[in-house]
């Protein structure tokens, strides 16, 4: 059943162009006024945004290049409201797209043609915290950082910490399987979600999982986390809570260049020490940070900074610090500092966490890329990414999760310059191809969304995608829930049509 992919899905199709054509299953008739009246009845006047001016802010999420205005935005306050909205959408043949805080970077919360957004930000209550069994039950609109703040009194935290954690929500994190700097030791969102309540695309409410994180059957929770809102709308999540480590040590090593910093990361991995985080910030990022309000006092001679965080039992940490020191010195680092107190630790992290904000100084627009390579290939791929951007005359700044091999090349540009924009897109495609060529993948934590949907074939062929369609169709057989995301909208293969194979009538769940 292997098929050649048609040429119009070739890598030359940019993410910008790719989302422009209407999706095949998209709505053709505008919904009636009765539909909007029905929504208003469900969520109330304050829960419905349908006026031109109100919708402007909802044209995109963190991926700003491909704005698309939704028909309406609903802001439900309960699971029942979400389910009622979904049923109304089905009756009126309107597609729907779940949205958290809109901080996603791959367009997962973009309103596809003729769809409404269901934003869960008003469902923001922490329903239960159990310090003994270390779990919390939360609504999807709870902000990531607010959950950790709320449980701090119990000596616990919620481990996944995406850079947007001051704004992003648990519901969005579940949809995207969000990562963050500390995934190196603690894993990504999928390692911390125990159970979910989901409004399925047919409007029914279903619970999956339990408070253990293990069931006796299919791992539905594991399949739903990271499904980018294409299998349903998460209306409640039970998440694992992690004890705050007894001690934390943070080191900052200064290198002449990003390549030896990457080599030092390789040495740490081989040494057997598992840091909580290993992050690299390159020269251009340091310059931007030092010129901004996030200034961390880094020397301007620094070509790259490696931040390493260790945690655990304090008696074990001196040996680990020594191992990190040895790895960095073996790669010729200029200097290595260990934070003496919490204030200094936060100063070290400011260079990392303030990087995206500071880069606003570099150019009007920033394309934040996301790809992963085996960590042994980091030195070579950083050089390659630099070469690609030089060739396209683009300004590049790197700030990335080195310990995971997760690159974030940030390309500075001005969208008002169409030629520069075209070069940004071309360079992005080349970076993805270079990463895949060494065994990497096209996204480590930002998701596929609409941004990378048409690059999926770099990693997966039609046979690899087929089981993904089967999973999607089990939950979302007619594609009404977040259409056009994650995997190409339709198969390019007649035999693969579910009706042609005789199970089109299989009921969903």
């Amino acid at each position: 059943m292997s098929v050649e992919l048609p040429s119009h899905r070739s890598p030359s199709t940019s993410a910008v162009e790719a989302s422009a054509p209407a999706d095949p299953g998209a709505l053709r008739v505008a919904p009636s006024p009765a539909f909007f009246e029905r929504l208003r009845t469900i969520v109330g006047r304050e829960g419905l945004l349908a006026r031109e001016g109100e919708l402007f802010a909802y044209e995109c999420d963190g991926l700003t290049l491909t704005p698309k205005r939704p028909l309406a935005v609903v802001l439900p306050t309960s699971t029942e409201q979400v389910a009622a909205v979904v049923r109304a959408c089905r009756e009126h043949d309107v597609h729907f797209v779940p949205r958290g805080a809109g901080t996603g970077l791959s367009g997962g919360a973009h309103a596809t043609e003729g769809s409404i957004l269901i934003e869960c930000s008003r469902m923001n209550r922490i329903l239960e915290v159990d310090p003994a069994d270390r779990f919390a039950v939360v609504q999807p609109g709870v902000v990531n950082a607010e959950l950790s703040a709320a449980i701090r009194q119990h000596g616990l935290f919620y481990a996944p910490d995406p850079s947007s954690q001051q704004a992003c929500t648990i519901g969005g994190n579940v949809a995207e399987n969000s990562g963050g700097p500390h995934t190196l030791k603690y894993g990504t969102t999928t390692n911390h979600v125990l159970a979910l309540e989901v409004v399925l695309p047919d409007g029914r409410v279903q619970r999956f999982g339990n408070r253990l994180g293990e069931t006796s059957g299919f791992d539905w929770v594991g399949a739903i986390v990271g499904s980018e809102g294409t299998l349903g709308i998460v209306t409640e999540a039970t998440v694992r809570l992690t004890p705050i480590p007894a001690a934390i040590e943070t080191l900052l090593a200064i290198f002449d260049d990003v390549v030896p910093a990457c080599r030092a990361v390789g040495r740490v991995i081989r040494s057997g020490v598992v840091p909580a985080a290993m992050e690299i910030v390159d020269r251009r990022t340091i310059e931007a940070v030092e010129a901004s309000v996030y200034a961390a006092g880094l020397p301007t001679t620094a070509g790259a900074v490696l931040i390493v965080e260790l945690d655990g039992n304090p008696i074990g940490l001196p040996d680990e610090i020594a191992a990190i020191r040895a790895a960095c010195e073996a790669e010729g680092c200029q200097a290595i500092e260990v934070a003496r107190d919490e204030a200094e630790r936060l100063r070290f992290w400011r260079a990392r966490k303030g990087a995206f904000g500071a880069m606003g100084r570099l150019a009007p627009d920033l394309y934040v890329h996301d790809a992963v390579v085996p960590r042994v290939h980091l030195p070579a791929i950083l050089a390659k990414v630099g070469e690609i951007c030089d060739r396209h005359r683009l300004k590049l700044a790197n700030v990335f999760h080195a310990g995971d091999g997760n690159l974030h090349p940030n390309i500075c540009f001005d969208r008002r310059d169409p030629d520069e924009l075209a070069r940004v897109i071309a360079a992005g495609a080349e970076i993805l191809e270079a990463c895949v060529a060494v065994g990497g993948v096209i996204t480590g934590e930002h998701g596929v969304g609409v941004e990378k949907r048409d690059y999926m074939h770099l990693v997966f062929d039609a046979d690899d995608l087929e089981p993904m369609y089967r999973l999607r169709e089990t939950f979302n057989p007619d594609g009404v829930c977040n259409p056009g995301k994650l995997i190409p909208t339709t198969r390019f293969c007649v035999e693969a049509n579910p009706k042609a194979r005789g199970y089109g009538e299989v009921p969903i769940g």
């Binding site: 069994d133 299919f218 791992d219 594991g222 074990g316 085996p374 995971d404 999926m456 690899d464 579910p498």
Partner: protein
Amino acid sequence: MSSAWDEVMAEARAERIVVPGATVEAVLAPADVGALGRVLAAANAGSHGLLVMGGRTRLHQANPARPLAAAVSLEAITGVDEFEPDEGVVHARAGTPIAALREVVAAEGWELPLDPPGASSTVGGTIASAATGPRAHAFGGVSDAILGLEVVGADGVASKCGGRVVKNVTGYDLAKLYCGSYGTLGIVTGAWLRLRPRPAVCEAVRAWPPSVPELFERCRALARLDSVRAILWHESPGEGAPEVVFELAGSDAVVAHDRERIAAELDVDRVGTDRVDALRDERAIDPSTLAPDEVVLRARALGSRSEALVNAMLESGLSVSVDLGLGVVHARGCVEAIAALERIRERAISEGGFAVVSAIAADRVGAIDVFGPQDGGPALARSLKARFDPAGILNPGRFVEGT
């Protein structure tokens, strides 16, 4: 019967394998992934049910099979084909024995974070059954170790999901679905696995706890020590003092610290870590040894409520082997009425968990659903199964909800 199927069966060897509800007389052992694809395509075309097997450790943990034409063994699809000591990842074919893979990676300072009961467990079988052992306390579940999988679908088409990198959100996380679905959605042929650095020190201590309540009370704090990676306790009613074994792993300093913490709570002596392996492997069952009314269960409850579940099992006259930090209880004993077994399951569910019937005597097969009630009910499980295996050839009937 189609000729493609006849050709496939011409390669079969005669061997009798008894599983719940069915007996198979022929075993196919395709030499490679291509040959496995041809077996499945032929079986799919003729709707021939297949028993899928790896090391055969958990073949009895299943609902009664619908008719089976043959068994497919992954024994020939074996070997470690890529190992990157600088990266801490390894690729192994499904038939690779866990024990062999463990040795390969240990030679370069890495540790395989898989710990299934049973000396013959394979990579593929461990993934298919999501089988964990006492060290899941530190290792986590089987799917936590999986970076990517290769799978042959019921239609014989090979596909892959995930990758070889340690962080990846490219596409649906299908590995989560394949892991623990007992080969009913596709047959895993190979896996990229994430390794852990081999600890500098690994040792075990054991104690004879004064009483069950005191054991649970003391272990609540001890389970949270950094280096503790297994706490295994077993008790058989009327069979002498129960034993608890702690395995500690980490740096010299941390292990020494934690050993002293345990010694302050309990009278301990040193044992080899092979004591943990031995107690773990006792949980692998030879179903031919079961008495007519004997059952084996694997149940789990929320940590704070596992004591109640353990007590309920001990009161029912079952012997237990418990992973204290995890709330996992392996229980074995005679249960006269199926209704009593259902009550034990209900108890596990009410304590926040589940109970799987790992083995039951042949004449009671089918009297109780092995996996118990499922989220989404029969419709969702069957809908998924129908899309992945419409002809129902992969372990038909053996998994949840008749899938």
